[in-house]
């Protein structure tokens, strides 16, 4: 199990100030921040979210092969990350219990749909929710 995990993950350290990925880069890895702090910066240059130790970021890479980073990830305190590679993760999924693998796929699919929805502005989301409510009647 340890060997399998070490194929899928690798540990990386980043110094304060380092940019882990930039907006527009291809989303290849998902990260678990073990120590330190990372700022996720949006298009307008403001900090969209600050990642604290124990949290995951860069999860777009998990869901979509062709996705581009929406945010720039910049380290604001010396950090240690667990970097998760998509291809080995997918390969490992083939070795897992079929129920677990199916579950993973379902959730990936749901995430994909939701991410597309998240690109919608708030007014449109509210209108959609209203439509859903009306349809359900």
């Amino acid at each position: 199990m340890v060997e399998e995990t070490s194929r899928i993950t690798s540990e990386e350290t980043f110094e304060n100030g380092v940019v882990i990925y930039r907006r527009g880069d291809k989303a290849e890895h998902t990260y678990l921040l073990k120590e330190g702090k990372v700022d996720l910066i949006g298009e307008d240059g403001t900090v969209s979210r600050t990642v604290a130790a124990g949290q995951v970021f860069g999860e777009t890479a998990l869901v979509s092969m062709d996705a581009m980073r929406i945010h720039t990830a910049r380290v604001t305190k010396d950090s240690k990350c667990l970097k998760i590679a998509r291809q080995p993760l997918e390969a490992q999924l083939q070795n897992e219990d079929p129920f677990i693998a199916a579950l993973f796929r379902i959730l990936q699919g749901n995430m994909c749909n939701v991410m597309q929805m998240k690109k919608m502005p708030k007014e449109k989301m509210n209108a959609l929710a209203k439509d859903l409510a009306e349809t359900a009647e």
């Binding site: 199990m1 399998e4 995990t5 899928i8 993950t9 998902t30 678990l32 073990k34 120590e35 996720l40 949006g42 900090v47 969209s48 979210r49 600050t50 604290a52 130790a53 124990g54 949290q55 995951v56 970021f57 860069g58 999860e59 777009t60 998990l62 869901v63 980073r69 929406i70 945010h71 990830a73 667990l82 998760i84 993760l89 490992q92 999924l93 070795n95 897992e96 219990d97 129920f99 677990i100 199916a102 579950l103 993973f104 379902i106 959730l107 990936q108 749901n110 995430m111 939701v114 991410m115 998240k118 708030k122 989301m125 509210n126 929710a129 859903l132 409510a133 009306e134 349809t135 359900a136």
Partner: protein
């Protein structure tokens, strides 16, 4: 060793579980169709989707010990295969820890997104702990003001 699968039948309109219930089982649709419904802001109900034969639902509550996030209603006469919690937990125990962690990550994101139309921050501090991932600290649980856009 033969495994006996537990099956349950439902008539159209039967509720499999209510939003807010404590969940202890996952289901696979053997036949029929299940509508997943959620209460929206303002007290109205919206359909999140349908589960067709071969589809799994109800698994989210098992993985992160949260209450049911939606109501499942039989749209047509349906037969469901019941997957008990003990079975899911046993499977998870044998699952690669990174995969286990990413399952919980995805569930937490989906749960947060579906709960509010007004998108708010996702706090994933318990994720690594839930997956029992070695030597990852529990975060201090700081509040951040960012939105829930995937990064």
């Amino acid at each position: 060793m033969t495994k006996v699968l537990n099956r349950r039948s439902f008539f159209p309109g039967d509720i499999i579980f209510h939003e807010g219930d404590n969940g202890s089982q996952a289901f696979v649709v053997q036949s029929g169709r299940i509508r997943i419904v959620k209460a929206l802001a303002g007290g109205e109900k919206g359909t999140l989707g349908f589960v067709e034969p071969g589809g799994v639902f109800g698994e989210m509550a098992l993985l992160d010990n949260s209450p049911r996030m939606a109501t499942a209603v039989a749209e047509e006469a349906s037969v469901l295969i019941v997957i008990p919690e003990s079975v899911v937990k046993a499977k998870l125990k044998k699952t690669n820890p990174v995969i286990r962690m990413m399952l919980v990550v995805m569930i937490r994101m989906l749960r947060n997104i579906s709960e509010k139309v007004d998108l708010e921050v996702i706090d994933l501090e318990a994720v690594a702990q839930a997956a029992k991932f070695p030597d990852v600290p529990q975060s201090a649980g700081e509040e951040d003001d960012g939105d829930v856009t995937a990064h």
